[in-house]
């Protein structure tokens, strides 16, 4: 078990392993994306109240879920940084923070576009919208700390502490609609009884979420791999790689 983690958390092994994984991930991602787009735009019926406008759910909801999921992934990396000082976790933290921030921004913008025709307003300071905005600021804070501190390892540790403080916000975003009166409606999919969305609308939503997850995995791997090359640029294996690249062997 530990040997497995040690093996794959070595930067060099991770670099080559993820390179082999990426084409497979891209293939599965494209399959999910095409199926979900067909489901979302064509096969799902229009909503009884909102008509075709409800289809923005297929961007808004997966983005919002990803904004929470990426933060939790960052939280895991942060614990690994602080407790075990794992280099790969330091790199991961910096590589996925901008992706998470982008998902959060996408959720906020699509929510705003959805809110104008349905609610009658672009923005309201209710608990759900505000806590999601706080999430964006937490992402930006982590990115800023990583960039502001010159020593990479110290920076990663400071950013990890901020990240773990901010993790308190995750349950607040999720439960805000239940704890307080909000303009944003309650949960549709993640409740204990059956989801209050028609099955033909639900399936593309779930497959689209899988597509978003795969997209996140692919983009993170690219970012992590390029960060690994920079991090290890003085080591022999990276120098060898560059030489082989110059000779056109890759």
């Amino acid at each position: 078990m530990f040997r497995f983690f040690y093996h794959y958390s070595s930067l060099r092994n991770f670099y080559f392993f993820s390179a082999k994984l990426t084409p497979f991930l891209i293939a599965v991602f494209l399959a999910f994306l095409i199926y979900s787009l067909y489901g979302a735009l064509i096969s799902a019926p229009a909503d009884y109240q909102q008509g075709d406008s409800f289809r923005i759910i297929y961007v808004h909801v997966p983005s919002a879920w990803m904004s929470l999921l990426v933060y939790m992934a960052m939280g895991l990396s942060a614990v690994s940084v602080l407790v075990w000082r794992v280099k790969l976790a330091e790199i991961t933290l910096g590589a996925i923070a901008p992706i998470g921030a982008t998902f959060t921004l996408a959720a906020l913008i699509t929510g705003s576009i959805w809110g104008k025709p349905m609610w009658g307003t672009w923005w309201e300071w209710d608990a759900r919208l505000t806590s999601e905005l706080v999430l964006l600021f937490l992402y930006l804070g982590v990115i800023a700390l990583l960039k502001a501190i010159d020593d990479r390892r110290t920076g990663a540790r400071s950013a990890s502490i901020l990240c773990l403080i901010g993790i308190i916000n995750i349950p607040i975003v999720h439960y805000s609609v239940e704890w307080w009166n909000t303009l944003h409606q309650g949960p549709t999919v993640s409740k204990f009884d059956s989801p209050s969305i028609h099955i033909d609308m639900l399936i593309p939503l779930l497959t689209m979420t899988v597509a978003f997850m795969l997209y996140f995995a692919i983009i993170s791997l690219y970012r992590i791999r390029s960060a690994i090359l920079v991090y290890d640029k003085e080591t022999q294996w990276v120098k060898d790689l560059i030489k082989r690249n110059e000779r056109g062997q890759i």
Binding site: D47, Y48, V83, M118, W119, G120, I165, I168, N181, I197
Partner: protein, 148 residues
Amino acid sequence: MMHPMRKKRLQLICLGILGIGIALALILTAFEKNLMYFYSPSEIHAGDAPAKRPFRIGGMVVEGSVVRQAESLGVWFNLTDTANEQMVYFEGILPDLFREGQGIVAKGQMNKSGLFVASEVLAKHDENYMPPEVAEALENVQHNSKVD
């Protein structure tokens, strides 16, 4: 076995998160009222809503209660939370989703005679998504069970 130093760090992190969590829970409980985006008609009847400053009210538009003023944009309607009702007056353009039975949020102030004068009305859509045919079928079932 975990290295003692690492174990200490992990414990420190857990304690830190727990501490911040408790602090935040206390703050949020203390500010509970201020975090409420709107008041329900029952809370207004109980006298919990501010009397002299604007606030928001949320509830369902009572079926058959919408009265439009002739030759102006004025409209009266009752809001309910199924326990109590509150009469609202609004002059302006209502959102597309405004209809009888719809959940809405209105911002405004109570006047002396107990009428809520709204300056803004927002529609609050529910968490249900379904095709129109299913909605229609559901309505028929409800209607039939009422007749029985």
